[in-house]
Symmetry: C2
Subunit: 255 residues, 2 copies
Amino acid sequence: MKTVLLIHAHPDPHSLTAQLAGAARAELRALGHEVIQSDLYALGWKAVYDEHDFPQRLDPQRLSFVEESGHAFKTGTQPDDVRAEQAKLQAADAVVFQFPLWWFGMPAIMKGWIERVFAYGLAYGWQDAGNRHRYGEGGLAGKRALLSVTTGGPSADYGPRGINGQLDELLFPITHGTLFYPGMEVLPTYAVHGAGRIDAAGVEAAKAGLAARMRTLFTDTPLPYRTQNGGDFPDRHVLADDVAPGVTGLRAHLR
Amino acid sequence: MKTVLLIHAHPDPHSLTAQLAGAARAELRALGHEVIQSDLYALGWKAVYDEHDFPQRLDPQRLSFVEESGHAFKTGTQPDDVRAEQAKLQAADAVVFQFPLWWFGMPAIMKGWIERVFAYGLAYGWQDAGNRHRYGEGGLAGKRALLSVTTGGPSADYGPRGINGQLDELLFPITHGTLFYPGMEVLPTYAVHGAGRIDAAGVEAAKAGLAARMRTLFTDTPLPYRTQNGGDFPDRHVLADDVAPGVTGLRAHLR
């Protein structure tokens, strides 16, 4: 039995997002896993990361989010809502993010969950080692992550030569920069396209597809991103010349 | 004389973000332009896009953001804060977004500005023509846009083979998917790296660099993204075979 944190972002309990979250939850429970949920709209999640996140400031004059985040995390002075979500995250063996793709990213409420919960000392600046532990190692190592997204447009728009851009590259700031960064193993994204015009049969197919992904959540092969300390980045910043020679851009990050 | 909307996202008036916004404002005014500002934290901007954005719902039972956004925009029933920002946007010849790169994207408060202000009928679904007008044409055509970002890491991390990913590809969901989508001409991003350890001389150099970009705001060449209706996407979804043959991923979107 594993523990799975299921986070979703849509205020309508009848939305496709909520239905998909429900399908994932039901399948995970049927598999014998424990499911923890964060229904961000229902929680009334505070999306804006601001001075109220640091009630006991290290420096009351200047607000450095990095320094105050590290201080608040280390001293246990973060707000209760942040601590509660961090406890869920730390208890989880896998995290599933279910959201509609809004302007090619997470809804602001979910982006604000990342900003507030992914504290310095937990998700970055891990073990006070600065940049030493990131990309494949870090405070969330050993956990799996899956993005499950819905989009309004047709799948062709998100293909390798689609007008919106290739979906996995659009999501790279999240999959690589947000989830792989603190050490999570990130699975290939599950996407349901054409959500605006989906019919009842389409909803059932989408739910079944996500349920299938729940069955392989702990066995699917993660995205083959390059770890910082695995040898490909000898100076921890730039790919070695002999690794994927001549390749540039996001695709250079795939082993 | 032009009108420039300057949006920034950091709560500390002494932050590098606020200082850069101040430098941009001063230079634009010195050039004789009118500057409109949206200091999102000072405004107490509501970041979460939810049912309160649609006080007179088309469908009180089911919440479709696309349908309610179109209805609220068309009937003039959007909240006052949204209408005020749309009026600023519509008055602007150029928009400058100044923000710290948090998890490789906009802070949630700014993402929520996009979600709430970029209504259906204005920034997408323009002229009720569905997907017909997007990418180079749309409700914001004729306006210029510039991202001005600060990052914590060194510039090498954001280079073509840097460990974080190439900066222009990390920002593609914003530059292409959010700003070019409704027709804006998007300029190459202005980036200040190593913001966490910047010294006084570095701050002055960063401000001077941004001031220089303000002087060429209306003459710099925009990013060469492909328009939907310019011939490269004959079916409006996928690149024609003879356009950049064999090229896939985000780089296929550059002319």
